[in-house]
Symmetry: C2
């Protein structure tokens, strides 16, 4: 058993997916984990899964992790701060300024509160979906603020927690966190949902022409409204600010396309598209480095094992697949595997795959 | 050699990616293919690649396929109609009403013109990137209009062409085609480019938190502005109509989030998100059927061959992978493979993978 950096007991309030996943990971390191939830059945289930033990009289947690829905985070954190005056308290909500403001308004002792935001993506499913490695490799934001009494000590506790869970700790102040997630997570959700909304009344012929571009841009529109309305409501100021600038740009494109033959109109459109190129290039690639990969598209028969055979052969050629995407065409009995590799070996790989009888359907983008 | 449905000679005007790819596929079926291009070097290159032969005096093509950039489609089609009064003429441009209107305005004999739109996605690269199987499994829209003299005969020629290329012929009238691609292709391009634009001035901390959602929604923002400004300009009326309705929805969400505590505000947001759910459910899945798959996330070490090993084992368990997506976390030495399978076998697969030592990082969405 690897030694835990985190010192227990750790009390987890909210035995859902995130709480139970943290519990499972800490238990695997031998940490004493206490589970609490407004629902006794949820606690029993999470205990059954091995995520910790039920609370007992005399528990004296060193760290409390609040894993409850966004709208009850502040009141739960305040209650824990009051009940455990020796403990550091954190939470895992997607928004950090709003609960901090609520806690200040309540007069809570926030000198022992530091917010967290593990960027673990899937926030549904309860203890039954919990995994000890849910946070592995993901950023874990530690949201600092000015009223923390011993910031260095608090950061150390939360960094230790993040590292114990396999996550990458990232320190940001609460306002910067909220601005950042508004940009990279909350606004994309709104934009994607509104785009997908346009499909509700689409003809079957139109959606029948849908390709990977539409699928990608609307994938997150499948997210849970119940959760997202809480997140968007709690970070509304940051989200609105970005959406307003988005709307300004949209107005410019609409005006230009409304009179495409007017002088300068298509230039407005071209510059918008070019700024999009510049923006997407800001997104870090694999291993944190923005990098351009070459992409091959290979035909794969739609039977079990074909994709594996392709990847095995690519591996035996000595090439590492940087990214992979499988695309199916409606009605087709095969798929197209988009394989990203470092540009230097693309030619070699194409030649080797051709030699092995694979059909290359294109070298893309 | 499979017998060609298409009767030659076929004349292809524009020896770029699409023209040369069509040429390669038809040549493989033994069809006499004549290549023409404003650039003699492009013709020589495409001939060298085996996409056809150069034009000769006395050529009498039965079918002319115009594969030139959007802004010169109409004038090229008109010239071909005039030069070859016995030929059916088609083109492969992404927009169909605009060239039809231009042809009418020019007084061209459009009784022998039927537009095509192969939904083959990647429209760059020239003959050097051409592939005989570029169109395999993709929809090939045949854009009908009222002035075709023998619609049945024309449709048969174009259906034969599509089938010879492995594509799935879809008949739509030109207006319905343009409405459809505005919705499923042109508007998503604008929406994605404008979203990516918001990242241009983002902090490094913010883009460092980017996850798969942002990557998916902005992927097509990397497209070529030069090409897209032509497409958007040529289909501006349809695109503007949809963008205006999008903006109305966006205004509603901005207003609601500007005063999130006002009565009914969050309901507006929740309903927008729910409509997004309904819209994304309209997109057909694999084999043309909208279907929900279960998704597992499996940890894969970042060394050649690991993903292949995983897929080989899934194949040996007898499970077909419906969709696959590889995700890398910044700084991590492994990836997360999102594997979609039919829901009925999810439990079985998880158990089998666990038994083989794979780490399941989550059962998603």
């Amino acid at each position: 058993m690897t030694a835990a950096r985190t010192q227990g007991p750790v009390r987890i309030v909210g035995a859902g997916l995130l709480g139970a996943s943290i519990g499972l990971a800490l238990r695997a390191l031998g940490v004493d984990v206490i589970l609490a939830d407004i629902s006794p059945a949820s606690v029993r289930l999470a205990v059954d899964y091995g995520a910790g033990r039920a609370a007992a009289a005399g528990d004296a947690p060193k760290l409390v992790i609040v894993c409850v829905p966004p709208d009850v985070v502040a009141q739960t954190v305040a209650a824990e701060l009051a009940t455990y005056p020796e403990a550091l308290v954190t939470d895992v909500a997607s928004v950090k300024l709003a609960p901090l403001g609520e806690l200040r308004a309540m007069g809570a002792d926030i000198s022992r509160y530091v917010g967290s935001h593990p960027m673990a993506g899937r926030e549904r499913g309860g203890a039954i979906a919990a995994r000890a490695d849910l946070f592995v490799g993901r950023p874990w934001v530690i949201a600092n603020h000015d009223d923390i009494s011993d910031r260095r000590a608090a950061d150390t506790v939360l960094e230790s927690l993040a590292l114990d869970l396999g996550a990458a700790p990232v320190e940001l102040d609460a306002a910067e966190h909220d601005r950042s997630v508004a940009l990279v997570s909350h606004v994309p959700q709104v934009i994607s949902s509104l785009l997908a909304t346009r499909l509700v009344d689409a003809s079957d012929a139109a959606v029948g022409l849908a390709g990977q571009g539409l699928r990608d841009t609307t994938r997150i529109a499948g997210s849970q409204p119940e959760l997202w309305v809480q997140i968007l409501g709690a970070n509304s100021e940051q989200v609105v600010g970005i959406l307003e600038r988005y709307r300004d740009d949209l107005d410019g494109v609409i005006a230009a396309l409304a009179t495409p033959s007017a002088p300068g109109a298509l230039r407005v459109v071209a510059e918008s598209l070019a700024r999009g190129n510049a923006g997407v290039a800001r997104i870090p690639g694999k291993h944190g480095i923005a990098k351009h990969f070459s992409t091959l598209v290979v035909l794969v028969d739609d039977v079990p094992g074909q994709l594996a055979r392709l990847l095995t052969e690519i591996g035996s050629i000595g090439v590492n697949v940087e990214d992979l995407r499988l695309e199916h065409s409606p009605g087709a009995q095969f798929g197209l595997a988009e394989i990203s590799v470092v540009p230097e070996i693309e030619h070699h790989l194409i030649a080797e795959l051709n030699e092995r009888g694979w059909k290359i359907a294109g070298a893309s983008e």
